[in-house]
């Protein structure tokens, strides 16, 4: 595989990882708002059969598998910071589709969490053990 092809493949997978996670969580939230309150294992299992919740779960499973596949050729130090963008994308989707009110303080918190995850993710993934 040429390096150019690998680069495009990595970008396409990264975009899919961010979008499938964010939209998976969005559909899960939308479906759960339609479902009865979850207060037992049975009610949680019943909620899974809501079509919107099921769509969210399918997207989250595809997110997990795509992310695992991506980790087989891309560095964890690349995958973690890129996928941290999902925190901001989820907030934007909540604002657009669920009409959530996001205060400036909550935006600041979300951006700080994204930056923190990027800082934790970059660096040597095979750090030596501490003494």
């Amino acid at each position: 595989m040429t390096s150019s092809h690998l680069r495009w493949k990595t970008r396409a997978f990264a975009a899919y990882v961010i979008l499938s996670n964010s939209f998976g969580n969005l559909f899960l939230a939308m479906g759960m708002h339609q479902s009865q309150e979850v207060n037992s294992v049975l009610s949680a299992l019943a909620a899974i059969f809501n079509p919107v919740v099921a769509l969210g779960i399918v997207l989250l499973i595809s997110w997990l598998l795509t992310r695992m596949a991506m980790l087989s050729w891309a560095d964890l130090t690349y995958v973690l910071p890129v996928t941290a963008l999902g925190y901001v994308v989820s907030a934007v989707l909540g604002l657009l589709f669920l009409h959530e009110v996001i205060t400036p303080v909550r935006w600041a918190g979300t951006v700080l969490i994204m930056l923190g995850t990027i800082l934790v993710g970059i660096g040597d993934p095979h750090a030596e053990k501490s003494k």
Binding site: A29, V38, L98, G109, T110, L119, V120
Partner: protein
Amino acid sequence: MRSWLLLSVVVGATVTSDMLQAFEMKRQGEVQQAGTFVASIFQKKLLILSIFCMAISFFAFMSLVQIADLSFAVPASAASVVLETILANIILKERVDKRRWLGVACVAAGVYLLAL
């Protein structure tokens, strides 16, 4: 209040699941053949326990997004990064450099801002 309780379950179960997975996978060593590894999963008690914890985390997250904003639930669940880094340092003896501690501090500060 219920949101924070559910968030605690999500974070606690995620941290437990990830720690069990990391501990078991490090004990096993690098995966050479995917087929052999998948077949051996059900013989590893800690991995089965980690999958159980993952399921608890997922169902708690489902309940959380039912009562809390998505723009709160998703970023706040990153609090697991803080606990996992601390526990990886203490239990798994992983070396955590200054940049990672700074990242952990940013995540903790971000979760604090979400709580305001």
